[in-house]
Point group: C2
Chain length 366, copies 2
């Protein structure tokens, strides 16, 4: 009758305050009102959050486990985020570090519709790591971006995605850009014999995204990108649910609040809500994720979870060709390496640099 799942938080506060703080989270994330004003017994028994544990981690840091009602989530990813973090995000010194995923959530949200195997199948790979790059900079017109995509595709890369800042600006509107780039990649595929995919960035509200999706589908595109923390996670869920034939790359824009640890967000939650691949800021790049977080993220994305397909960890952010062997040893074969800027620096030698990147991946033996 009263199914619950546990959300786990890291909370910083003086030890004398932690019990009240934990009770405060339990109330804030469930009924958000004084308990003495609640009459309904089933609300008190089944809806009000419960403190399931407090562990003192030292230095005024605590791990707090709160048991929340499964029924309070309903069937909406946005509401799930609302329930596990919504209002508590406004309290200082709190971050969400884990969420227990009951089987009902897995059944409801469905996870990746394609997952790692589906992304490999699209590009004719069996068990190897995959390659990806990005079309930049914004400000180039559609023809220039298409020429760049053609160069990358001549190198035989697996996935060529839009820069996440390529929205629908006048310099290269979606309706002009996507057919131009799709055509350029198609021409390169005829040369290479490879199955290189172009991955356009979706932007705007879900209504506008669906116009973009129809246009992309008409160009033969079967993989798209969106930034769930920008679009709203319910939009990711809608994309996976209503366009199941499209594979989805999730971009990390606006994810960096520190409110949700990256391994949980990218490895578990985005997978649950339908991301086939999760792009994240790799260790040793220009962002600050640690090796431990990256390892945990990749583990979460690919571990068994109520039969959900695994989500492809896609490290990015200031990566270089020279790091490919190190990264493959770190992540193993279930990974897509996204190298953007450093390939662009090859300039007129982009096809050769892309081919070298691709070769390094294909020759990898774990």
């Amino acid at each position: 009758m009263s199914a619950r799942f546990v959300a786990t938080y890291r909370v910083r506060c003086p030890a004398a305050e932690i019990e009240a703080r934990a009770r405060g989270i339990a109330v804030e994330q469930s009924v958000e009102m004084p308990l003495d004003a609640i009459d309904a017994p089933h609300v008190l028994a089944e809806v009000v959050g419960q403190v399931a544990g407090i562990v003192d981690d030292g230095d005024d840091g605590f791990t707090v486990r709160i048991a929340l009602g499964v029924a309070t989530v309903g069937t909406d990813a946005g509401q799930m985020l609302n329930i596990v973090l919504g209002n508590s995000s406004m309290h200082p010194g709190i971050s969400l570090i884990d969420v227990e995923i009951p089987e009902t959530f897995a059944a409801c949200f469905g996870g990746p519709r394609h997952g790692i195997a589906g992304l490999r199948a699209r590009v004719g790979a069996s068990a190897r790591p995959l390659s990806a790059t990005a079309l930049k900079p914004q400000g180039l017109d559609a023809a220039a971006l298409a020429r760049l995509a053609h160069q990358f595709a001549l190198g035989g890369l697996d996935y060529i995605k839009d820069d996440h800042n390529l929205a629908d600006q006048p310099s290269a509107p979606f309706a002009t850009r996507v057919p131009a780039i799709a055509g350029a990649v198609e021409r390169a595929r005829a040369v290479t014999g490879r199955a290189t995919r172009y991955v356009p960035m979706l932007s705007g509200d879900w209504g506008r995204m669906q116009v973009q999706l129809r246009l992309a589908r008409d160009c033969g595109i079967d993989t798209v990108m969106l930034a769930p923390m920008l679009s709203g996670v319910a939009t990711l869920q809608a994309l996976a649910r209503e366009w199941p034939e499209m594979a989805v790359l999730a971009h990390p824009s606006m994810s960096g609040s520190g409110l949700i640890t990256p391994d949980l967000l990218f490895g578990t939650l985005l997978r649950l809500w339908g991301a086939d691949a999760a792009i994240f800021a790799n260790y040793g790049g220009r962002f600050g994720f640690s090796r431990d977080i990256c390892r945990s993220l990749a583990g979460r994305a690919t571990s068994p979870l109520h039969g959900l397909r695994p989500c492809l960890p896609t490290p990015a952010g200031g990566m270089e060709l020279a790091r490919v062997p190190e990264l493959l040893h770190f992540f193993g074969p279930d990974v897509m390496l996204l190298i953007g800027g450093s390939l662009l620096q090859a300039r007129e030698r982009i096809p050769e640099a892309a081919a070298a990147f691709q070769r390094a991946l294909e020759e990898f033996r774990p």
Copy 2:
């Protein structure tokens, strides 16, 4: 040719690093690639971000001004957030504290379609502060929530909104809850002669929200609520653009990352993107906003901005009846006070407590 707007950040880092850090933000938030790999002169001149100023605030804190290209925003609120903060959100020690709003943004996004005057007109008020409360707790069925709404409405309140956790769960699905509550408020209005509004919470993706909007409109509802940081800010923009007859209350769920200062987010950005009222965590409640932030927020929401309608500051979060005079002196008459839990504690005396709240607002003289 090269219109720019300035985004201002607070950055914490050692003084020796701030110049490189500022240049890094300028690149990250525009082209996100090595500048030496960019050939196009117009991209270098018009698209690449420029450091417009660095001020040392002491204690390893700096105010950094970055001039970004107006054209990089396009016409999408999500892309605007992407450009001013997206990837930089993943860097430590950064927050967005101001965004210059050029007239082109005001013309593009349009701001509130109703604003303070429109929200007052709906409830027959001329220049006084407005009242609001919330229907809680989730877990009650639609009939119980409707009874509660009836009690509040008998007290003559202006706006009665759903708890932000009332999504579309089985306990009180939107399609059952909204007609029941709208009917209960209507019956109370026949008793009081007042124009009390019920404000349902929208949830899910924009497609599902539009189903909810049609149902709400059929129930005579003209004011709705959504949480833009949960739904995506493009969804707020779509709501204002495509349902201009609906007034919009913005709820602050998931806003509390510290990545955007609350006065900027609630007072300027949500107003720009179409919120008629912005609910925020008031000073002295159970959240940590300061008096200065609340004063700045209310000032931003109501100051002249390229002819945009003012947005109604709506302080909330652990407020009590006894604070009404203090809050009205602090905010003045252009405010909506949202009191939830403390009215609910009146239990069988809710109509009387609501009436006392309403009277305190109506008798206020600045």
